[in-house]
């Protein structure tokens, strides 16, 4: 974890770790894992809110908890940029991490695989592999998506690849 900023580090230590190593095909064990996922997500969301650093919404899109959808946002130059957020829990979870997707940004940045999957290979996958099964969805958002947004969004905005929704609306009117 050397090289990570102290904020991320201290946040990370406060997200509850998970214990059950189970994937979506593991029946009751998966339900147990899902409970742990919820606990971690609830704790992380509460922490973000109390630190005035609320930056995502996520909820299960199906009863099995294998597909998750929501929103995430990033503030750059006092403007808020919001994006749809989605991912599937892979069958080999938690041995492999979820592939987080921001479909609206598909094709707009090189740091992305097809279908809007953000690139986690260098900064996140090694951490996930080392911490299996203790890391869950909350950790993936904290260590995978958050740094990605922090690195990518300013560049995408400054290069004009993405526009703030107010700007986009006004340019449409004119």
């Amino acid at each position: 974890m050397e090289g990570w900023d102290p904020n991320t580090k201290s946040t990370l230590t406060q997200i509850p770790l998970l214990t059950t190593k189970a994937g979506p095909r593991d029946g009751a064990a998966w339900t147990q894992r899902l409970k742990e996922e919820y606990r971690a997500l609830i704790a992380y969301t509460q922490m973000n809110k109390s630190n005035d650093n609320d930056w995502f919404r996520i909820s299960a899109a199906n009863p099995e908890g294998t597909r998750w959808t929501g929103k995430c946002w990033y503030v750059h130059n006092l403007l808020k940029y919001e994006f749809d957020l989605q991912f599937d829990i892979p069958v080999t979870y938690p041995a492999t991490a979820p592939e987080i997707e921001l479909p609206e940004l598909d094709g707009k940045t090189q740091k992305m695989y097809r279908g809007g999957k953000i690139c986690l290979t260098v900064h996140f996958k090694p951490l996930w592999a080392k911490n299996c099964p203790r890391f869950g969805i909350a950790h993936a958002l904290c260590l995978g998506l958050a740094p990605w947004l922090a690195a990518e969004i300013p560049i995408l905005v400054d290069s004009g690849m993405i526009k703030h929704k107010d700007d986009a609306a006004s340019s449409n009117e004119s």
Binding site: R25, T45, T96, Y113, A150, A151
Partner: protein, 428 residues
């Protein structure tokens, strides 16, 4: 059209004869050769070859299998025609998978199952197989189009899905289990699975499926920098599975703010991909048709033209539960395997004794000693170290049991409750 062209040629001929100026003859000749060329083109309209019932070894231009059946005459393969009974599943129809599919199709494989969820893009054109006019088609559809033209005898099944999702995985598993092509076959419905995917997640999924089905498979890969690659044979329980030796993960300690911006675009070369596909299918043919030595692992480093080989034993502490089950079964089946090997050796020995001695006299009392005899008299185990070396750490047969469900789970906390709590947080 042919008639028109013929009349045009006749017209040109009469024009040439009626011309008094010889300087114009050259251009008339040029016109004539162009019409000839057109006539030739018109004759070679594409024809689809019809299906062939039996593979024939007859050496005629029209036999698509004569060169393959010649493998029998050359003493390489005992019964080549068996290839029509085999089913091979190819996961990932990219730079390696599509070429492997074409090779197996040209070899007359019985059935191919193709899995991919991607579409053909212009960015794929630096590799083999797909053509620019197929851009936009799914890779599976485009592959079926080309492969069924090349060899209509092959039964092609295409699955446009992502095997890493729960639903895709179920379809993947049931398609591998389906035995309608060859109901008499033991085990699953396919003889071999070839993994030609480009990422760790998908490899782990193929590994999971094959461990659960006890299905032998081969893994292939080309490095991100396009100059090296590898193929690997994975027999559940017998050789290391893909999760037995996880890739070396080293957290490089990157600062998230300095995340590289080079992009995730990997390099690729048609050459390296073609070589790896060739190695993969060669190993596949050796495995299916039982000739030569099937490599457990073969690397290819193109910068030095280095081809390392090695074998990997399964990891008794593998994180994959299905792998551990297969390992247990493999160990339990050892006596049967030993008996079989012994019977085979005895049969070979008895066959050898029937033969007359190679030399009638042996003036110098030279005798050949079997290597295996020497080894067994040494009384060492196969995994013993050479003299003078000791293992620093004890071998860990008992490893940490994963912590059981902790007291943390009071059981009272309901999943629905937790979901509502998160939704409440999400609401404001």
């Amino acid at each position: 059209m042919e008639v028109e062209l013929k009349e045009m040629l006749d017209d040109l001929q009469s024009l040439r004869q009626s011309l008094s100026d010889p300087t114009l003859r050259a251009s008339i000749d040029k016109l004539q050769s162009r019409v000839d060329h057109l006539t030739h083109l018109a004759k070679s309209v594409p024809v689809r070859r019809s299906k062939v019932k039996d593979m024939s070894a007859e050496v005629v231009d029209s036999n698509p299998y004569s060169r393959l059946m010649a493998l029998q005459r050359m003493g390489i393969v005992e019964n080549y025609e068996r290839i029509r009974e085999f089913s091979v599943a190819i996961v990932g129809i990219g730079g390696v998978g599509s070429v492997a599919a074409e090779m197996l199709t040209r070899c007359g494989i019985g059935r191919l199952l193709l899995y991919d969820y991607d579409k053909v893009e212009l960015a794929n054109m630096n590799r083999l197989f797909f053509r620019p006019e197929q851009v936009g088609m799914t890779k599976t559809d485009a592959a079926v189009q080309t492969l069924s033209d090349i060899n209509p005898d092959v039964v092609l099944e295409s699955y446009t899905l992502n095997i890493t999702t729960v639903q895709g995985f179920e379809t993947f598993m049931s398609s591998l289990r389906n035995k309608t092509f060859c109901p008499s076959k033991e085990g699953s419905g396919v003889d071999l699975v070839l993994s030609c995917v480009d990422n760790y997640e998908a490899r782990m999924v193929v590994n999971q499926a094959c461990n659960e089905l006890n299905q032998t498979w081969m893994e292939s890969g080309v490095s991100e920098d396009a100059v090296s690659g590898h193929i690997q044979l994975l027999i559940p329980g017998e050789t290391a599975c893909f999760a037995c030796a996880p890739p070396l993960v080293v957290a490089s300690g990157v600062d998230e703010r300095t995340l590289k911006r080079e992009g995730v675009c990997a390099a690729s070369l048609p050459t390296t991909m073609g070589v790896v596909a060739g190695l993969l299918v060669q190993n596949t043919l050796k495995f299916l048709l039982k000739f030569g030595h099937v490599s457990p692992y073969l690397g290819y480093s193109s910068l030095k033209d280095y081809f390392p080989t090695m074998a990997m034993k399964p990891n008794p502490q593998c994180s994959n539960a299905a792998c551990l089950e297969r390992q247990k079964e493999y160990i339990l089946a050892k006596p049967a395997r030993d008996a079989e090997a012994k019977a085979k050796m005895e049969a070979e020995a008895s066959a050898a004794t029937v033969d007359l001695p190679l030399h009638a006299d042996n003036e110098w009392n030279i005798s050949v000693v079997d290597d295996s005899v020497l080894e067994s008299t040494g009384g060492t185990r196969s995994d013993a170290l050479p003299e003078g070396l000791i293992h620093e750490l004890p071998s860990a047969d008992e490893f940490q049991k994963p912590p059981a469900f902790e007291a943390l789970d009071t059981g009272i906390v309901d999943l629905e409750d937790l979901r509502r709590q998160l939704e409440a947080l999400n609401a404001d």
